[in-house]
Amino acid sequence: MAVRAYRAPRSIPEAVSLLASEPGAFALSGGTDLLVQQRSGARDPGAFIDLKRIPGMLGIEEQAACWRIGASTPCVDIASHAGLRREFPGLVEAAGLIGSKQVQGRASLGGNLCNASPAADSVPALVVNRASLLISGPQGERRIAAECLTLGPGRTVLGSGEFLSAVEIPRAAVRQADAYLRFIPRTEMDIAVVGAAAALQLDAEGRCTAARIALGAVAPTVLTVPEADAVLIGTHLDTDAVAACVAIAQSACNPISDRRGTAEFRRHVAGVLLRRVIAIAAQRAAQGV
């Protein structure tokens, strides 16, 4: 269908109403995925509902219990936020990896999440940091864990009239740190062939008291592997413990072969990246963030 309308609502209720009522309505955040898909025919919007003029959709707010990031905040703002970077260097790095500097000027966490690509760079880091997503809709506001948004490639749990309004990340504790790495063939501009994130919490003796890993682009949705997390707990993240964690995570992978990489390659590199992010997160945590 042709795109018949562009609307820029100024409030959440107005946006909810437009998304529910305009035929073929699509929420427009940064547009860096949606516009490309509309041109290629991969998605077929009848109307663009631009969320960026709604108060609260843009902006990064430090609160007592969490950081609140407006879902349409451009990644360039996240990547350059000193406060966020101090607590979540991995998440901030991930946000700063999405696309080129030009794409960074528009791309948002909301868009990256709701586009629901298995290779989304922000998702593994959000998941390991236990981010929750605020969804606004006809029934008001609801909150879900970041890893619960996506049903499969390109599909989310969002119902008619619903959109992502904010991302909330609980404050990091002392000696808690994260890291994110992705594999791409060039140094920039590529979609992640594999993404790996880890968030670790250490005690004063350097023992791991909490761990969460997540992998991107190795399954239809972001992959969390609680059994892999578990083998790290209580250890000093020694070589054997990490190797065991990586092995469990690798066997949980369910990657595809496509123009960006083979399944075998993804599985192997997932293990390599996981080992590396655990080491980076551990080093950051030990420095007492």
Binding site: F183, R186, D190, R259, F265
Partner: protein, 751 residues
Amino acid sequence: MTIATHIPVVGSRPPRPDGADKVTGRARYGADFSLPGMVWGAVLRSPHAHARILGIDTSAARAMPGVLAIVTAEDMAESFSADVAAGESHVDMQDLSRNVLAREKVLYHGHAVAAVAATTQRLAKEALRAIRVDYEELPAVLDIDAALHPDAPVLHPGMFTRGLPETPSKPSNLASRLVMQKGDLEQGFAESEVIMQRTYTCASAHQGYIEPHACLASAGADGQIDIWCCTQGHFAVRSYTAALLGIEPASIRVTATEIGGGFGGKTTVYLEPLAVALSRKSGRPVKMQMSREDVFRATGPGSATRITVKVGAKRDGTLIAMDALMEYEAGAFKGSPAGAGAMTIFTAYAAPHQRAVALDIVVNKPKVAAYRAPGAPQAAHATECLLNELAAELGIDPLELRFRNATRNGTPTVYGATLRDIGLQECLEAARAHPHWSAPLAAHQGRGVAVGFWFNHGAQSSASVHLVEGGKILLQEGTPDIGGSRASMALMAADTLGIPYTDIHPMVADTASVGYNDMTGGSRVTYATGYAVVEACRDLIASLRARAAAVWGVDPARVEWKDGTATDIEDSTHVLGLSALAALSGRMEGPLSGQGAVNLKSAAPSFSVNIADVEVDPDTGASKVLRFTAIQDAGRAIHPDFVEGQLQGGAVQGIGWALNEEYRFDAKGVLENPGFLDYRMPVASDLPMIDTVIVEVPWPDHPFGVRGVGETPICAPMAAVASALNAAAGTAIRDLPLSPPRVLSAILAKG
């Protein structure tokens, strides 16, 4: 009166004349032109890689409001008088016509089938959807082995392989077999103490110009046609369009807009004949531009290849026999550069017994087009990688192996010419002396060296120079500027006339305003067009001397031209500069101009040596180019910055082809990566600085010693990078691209 001494400017680095427009956005490229009343053209493309066209029904589309014209193959000429000579090869007009608009069959996914003109781009696209094409799908042939299989579906029922000892009785997908040889191979291998044979493959790579094809065509009621297009050869656009549509060439005026890259890919026509046909039918100017996706799907990339090289040598590394089987994919129509590859594959080496067997093979993929030294990069990849493998096996330094076997002046080539005035030795010496060659390497790092060669081209060029009031010179040439050649022309003109560089105003004139020029390609512009420019300036000087003599009433033999001034050797008060001569024109015999026209049969070959350092991450197969040095013989660097630019740009194209660039087709022949996201060209952060060394062994046949430089730079990088990567990873990967999954696989396989 003191005459300012002209300080020679050839070899200096002034800013280019078109530079200010390009940094301010004022320069106009193919898609930047508009005319009042303009409408938009769009192309309907085949959804099948191979199918018969049973019928095309345009009635519904024609009835749509806003749709002004539709063209199909029926609107193209049926027959052609002769092949049209253009560029470096003759063009088969039957093939070109069918590539521009499919006739009996569609032969690749994306093949143009029809074109429409409508009042908006949106309407044009909607009209395409309303055209009904009835296809009979046929099995597609998608690689060399499939194409050569005895039971392969045949793309062209009239294709009987040329060049075989006996003409075959059945058609096939082997368009031609060409053999070039010298010496006695059997004897050569018999004398060899060590024989090595390896097979190397390259994927198809696109030239990757950032500007998609675009044009604007306007057909007048009197049959005069104007075309503005980004092209490497506007005279060729005129010739092809005229032939394809049955129009008189002189009725067509083509203006070459600024061009956003070509590299050989803009030496043919795709949109222009369609835009003209639509303009004639609709009576309106028609603008057409390709999407990036169409550029990838439906314009000509460089050939995918499989090359098997067998080399016989003595234990001390002396090469005796070199044999190659070169299988090149031509795409949907014959005409891969296998022959050019055969001319280059062993030419850098003095081995007396050489043979190259070149196979031109059609497959259901877009018809390949020239890509910078067409055929040579793939050939060099094979030979240079094998020689590096041979050097390792014999325990000889790879550069030393090249020294031992480098070809020399007086050596006959397999293609018949005898090399003279070459600079290979000088390039090798520059490589050996370069700090890069002896810099230390760390773990997981490797170094590769390779030699490149391209024979370059001469051909036809014309130029005119006109003296303008105020004493400035208007320089008209006719070869589109794709690398800075306007500046080089101005430098040569300035030195020939003895006047400041800034007094020359060069322009690329349209086809109605300057004499015939073969296209920009074959690295011939600084060489051949430069030659024509120098001739035009010399012609002007003769007229200036005669004019000064007439002004003074003396014998022209007394008049000298030096430092931009006419002087009388017998009377020192007689001094006339350009400004004065221009001012006097009205009282004398009128305006002063000079013409130059050349058709250069000989061209200066150029050699290069590249050194690459690559680091590999053994855990992931990722690689990084740490350092790259490009050394090349330019004959004479008219504008060193532009020569360096050619070396650097060609190196990076070669690096891309080596590491990540490839056309990926699915099982139905649909291109999987028709965009810059997944067709991975190098970005700024992927690369180090590219160091360059310009060697100057002047070519004596050119007034300034110029040798073509544009194409040789892409010949050696693939082998240099591949050899470096294999050294770093301890692997022997012979297939390009060296993408991380392939590299990792090889690393894991060696255990």
